[in-house]
Assembly symmetry: C2
Homo-oligomer: 325 residues x 2
């Protein structure tokens, strides 16, 4: 059984040894290669591999194809999201959109999406392939819906926490959940275990994302690797801002915020942060993170294999959510 | 056996009776509905249905799912192509990009692509679904490659006819070919017949597209439904312009064109058209259309079913290429 670092290594070996994109047309595939070269932490393929290893020791090629397929899909969404968000930087490098231009980002994103399907279709077991394909489709559609809701919410002033969490579930959680469930499908486990894995991914994703909101305001530059306060400066809707609006009532919230939002920089950041503390919104959101974290661990607990097999997934979960502590 | 009009009707009935996109998120699915409502001639789904009916009389739901899947994929490519080409009009209406904005066009295009896969995955026969999926993937990748080559060619001055035809094959033909072959897969025909159908689609697509180039310069407003000369006005690379460059030699071509291209409007159009005739390029390109048309009919001939079953496909081919006569 592989731990996180070992799993990343094995995954990297597989995909570096597989020429993923053909050399030509260069302008189509170069942005794809650029994107995968800069690939992030590889959480998604590793979740698929670790879920598989709950039940079976030896990987088949089908596991790697599936893990890579999800990773490619995730990278496709980043390429297109960066166009929509006009984001110049991704993983410390120029975004595809910024580096290769918008047309390249659209078309290379499209082909990366299709190549993700093409990779999935290399799964050799027809019955599993069809199961995986249907899971993949449902997940991919939900991710588009989540991205749409995220954009819609920025234009609305009536978003409640439940709707926000549903948006996170769609935009972030279902992909983690699908990667985990795919590992279960490939390992031929029970339907109950597959559903346990899926729920675990949902709760893990929600906890992670709300945590992200918290840290952006209450983290230190040291702990999060960037200046805190980015969400406040960008007037972004977060679990904190929505909870504050619910606590204060829309009218008082609107009054207070419109006065603070006229200020800029450090003053704005400290003003909003102080409001969060004054209304106990930071504690409320911390409790939410704890709730979803507990649920995630309970889901993992529910999976019917000996506890020692779950160790690596537990460590990975703690690593992903460690910033709660 | 259905003729073209009847097949369109049966296809429309199927898909109007199937709620294809959910109501929410509205901003995600409204552009998708808008696109399919304005859907064009439905050549691709009809080719799939007619290929199936070469071998079997009664449609299964699997045929409609597959036909719709290809139609959705085609419409997805149009949505994204219109962003890349900055095209304001599509099928006589504002393009999605123009009507709903760029962000909507990117994300709705993405979900339409995924929904095409989702529709394909409704095929109930696992073995056929896997065959169709692999055909679909290969085709979709080639179409992206064709779109890239098309854009690359506009920036190059060394494109030869063979490369141009290869671009057309990828951008246009492989989708027609895949629709036809898919009909064959669904009808359980022989590998030889499937390949015959595929080749027929390739030749049909190339003949159609080169013909399109010819008509844009030599057609009448009456016959093509728009003013001729659009390609010349836009300095677009076509079979005609490439053939002319090959006939004249690059240097003479460059000299002659740079003087003509300084003129505008009617003068430019008549100037370039006169060059095409002077160098016999119109005749050369007409011969190419005839060559690929003959090949298409020969491919259809090669399919091992009684001739009377091929009647509707022959009529459709003549209809699509009638403008050659």
């Amino acid at each position: 059984m592989l731990n996180f670092q070992e799993a990343v290594q094995v995954f990297d070996d597989f995909y570096l040894n597989n020429l993923i994109f053909p050399p030509e047309p260069h302008n189509l595939y170069e942005p794809c290669r650029y994107t995968l070269e800069g690939a992030g932490k590889k959480i998604r393929p590793v979740l698929c591999m670790m879920a598989y290893q709950l039940f079976r020791e030896d990987f088949t090629e089908d596991v790697f194809h599936t893990a890579l397929s999800f990773e490619m899909f995730h990278n496709f969404t980043l390429i297109h999201d960066d166009i929509m968000d006009n984001a110049a930087v991704r993983r410390g490098r120029p975004s595809v959109f910024n580096r290769f231009g918008q047309t390249a980002a659209i078309l290379s994103g499209d082909v990366m999406n299709i190549c993700a399907y093409d990779r999935l279709a290399k799964v050799s077991d027809d019955v599993k392939l069809v199961q995986l394909l249907r899971l993949f489709n449902r997940t991919a559609i939900e991710i588009c819906e989540g991205q749409q809701l995220d954009m819609d919410f920025e234009q609305r002033n009536d978003v409640v926490l439940e709707a926000y969490i549903e948006m996170i579930r769609l935009k972030t959680s279902v992909l983690l959940a699908a990667c985990l469930k795919a590992g279960g499908i490939l390992a031929d486990t029970t339907a109950a275990n597959m559903e346990g894995l899926y729920r675990y991914g949902i709760h893990l994703g929600i906890a992670f994302q709300i945590q992200d909101d918290l840290l952006d305001t209450f983290g230190t530059e040291e702990s999060i690797g960037k200046q805190p306060g980015g969400d406040i400066r960008a007037n972004k809707k977060t679990a904190l801002s929505i909870a504050l609006e619910q606590e204060m009532g829309r009218e008082a919230f609107g009054r207070e915020m419109s006065s603070i939002l006229r200020t800029e920089g450090a003053e704005k950041y400290t003003g909003v942060k102080r409001l969060y503390e004054q209304y106990g919104v930071d504690k409320q959101v911390r409790k939410m993170v704890q709730h979803y974290t507990d649920s995630a661990f309970r889901d993992l607990q529910s999976i019917d294999v000996p506890d020692d097999r779950k160790q690596h997934l537990q460590v990975l979960t703690q690593y992903l959510l460690k910033r709660t502590k």
